[in-house]
């Protein structure tokens, strides 16, 4: 596949008009970063993670495990949660070491 075709595909994502011969093969999007544009947080339901930074030991387990890259970092330090992309799955709270317990899932007035 010609990567530039993929680029064209992304540019026209709002109104896909490319013929099948021009489209990126298999519908692959040959660039990263598309997930950044899709705000999963818009449909977060039930609960949201709340980070108590003073307890955090910056082991980065939450950052590694978060399926949406919603744990924000500054260098190697956790700085917060990107709620635009956090879907409230609770994995970060689960993997945060129990003795540390820096992340609490709290109920949110979502659509649950």
């Amino acid at each position: 596949m010609n990567p530039s075709r993929g680029a064209a595909f992304i540019e026209r994502e709002a109104s896909v008009t490319l013929p099948w011969t021009e489209m990126a093969e298999a519908g692959l999007i040959p660039q990263g970063g598309t997930a950044a544009r899709v705000k999963t947080g818009a449909w977060r339901t039930g609960s949201m993670p709340v980070l108590e930074l003073s307890r955090c030991i910056h082991c980065l387990r939450c950052w590694i495990w978060c399926p949406d890259s919603a744990v924000l970092l500054d260098g190697e330090k956790v700085t917060g949660i990107d709620y635009d992309h956090c879907k409230g799955c609770g994995i970060c709270a689960q993997v945060c070491p129990p003795k540390v317990h820096a992340i609490e899932m709290v109920p949110e007035g979502g659509e649950a």
């Binding site: 099948w20 489209m23 298999a26 519908g27 692959l28 999007i29 040959p30 660039q31 990263g32």
Partner: protein, 413 residues
Amino acid sequence: MATTEAYRITERRRVTMTGAEATAEAMRQIHPDVVAAYPITPQTDIVMRFARFVADGVVQTEFVPVESEHSALSAVVGASAAGARAMTATSGPGFALMHEILYVAAGYRLPIVMPVANRALSGPINIHGDHSDTMGSRDAGWIHLYAENAQEAYDDLIQAVRIAEHPEVRVPVLVGQDGFIITHGMEIVEVLTDDEVRAFVGEYRPERYLLDVDHPMTVGALALQNSYFEVKRQLAEAVRRSARIIADVGEEFGRLTGRYYGLTEPYRMEDAELVIVAIGSTAGTAKDVIDELRGRGVKAGLVKVRVFRPFPARNLRDLLGRARAVAVLDRADSYAGLGGPLFAETKAALYGLPQAPVMTGYVYGLGGRDITPEMIAAVYDDLGQLAERARADHAAVAAEAALSVRYLGVRER
């Protein structure tokens, strides 16, 4: 590694082995990066042998034991997207359980190769050979190759890697072999040297893959009304295109081994008037019957369909266009469809030919029921009578035959 050396094949050998054994041997020589599989009869012997190669350090393949075939193919999809040469193997109900993921593999254009020990589907439960499994998912977008014997199961698997990974194809390939008849039947198989196989399949260099962190990409994006259709149209074209690649690879394999492969294999078709079309091991039985009938002056012939997808319609038109009567043998029923899948499509391929032969379809061998040389001889007898009747009123006889499906080897009364 010492064990690896002990297993190395450095000279071509003629070995007595089963189809399953030959398949595991081909997998060892191909040396895929990842194999994920769940054991199911009669495929078990393939994966069991390959798992032993892994355990013994004969291959450095990452082997992923999973809890179901749905997961086996899912793991292989992930591995293939990540950039690995990935394989699995399955059979019957296991193949059926993969149905959903078959489409995913094809839709993402992942060059996965999968031996399938063709087996009947339940119910009632049956573990024996028929084609109900792969024919049931014939429209998933995979390339279908079918072996006639253990040698072909071995040869086809090696070629499948080249076909699947060809930059103009990139479509998953399954290689069917009749359960038990081929998987567990002992035959003499010529095994190539490890170096020959490795040179033939070459090193896998995917153009793009998920672990290439310098070129990030998204696999599995949502494609709704605005793009799904185009992606599937691409797939259809790739499968169509693969016909030429399959022929080229078969030709190149022939130059290496003396065993040439095409989409179809005509047998004594030069002047054949009564012709059987069949897939798999039954084609081998038919060849013997033909030799016998030829000795008695019957102009019998066979067209073996090796490649079912892409469907070799043009080859069939060329080969069958001059026949008087054609019988298509299906080891799978379509239950009140227009005959088994091979019959229906062969008829479609011949539509519009000015001199189309009279065609009739037989369903046979379900659940591993034997098909004997006598049964095949009886089919040629039927064809002779059909051709005679057609002399008087071709149109009427042809129409009646095209709509009739007969059951070969079932107890009628």
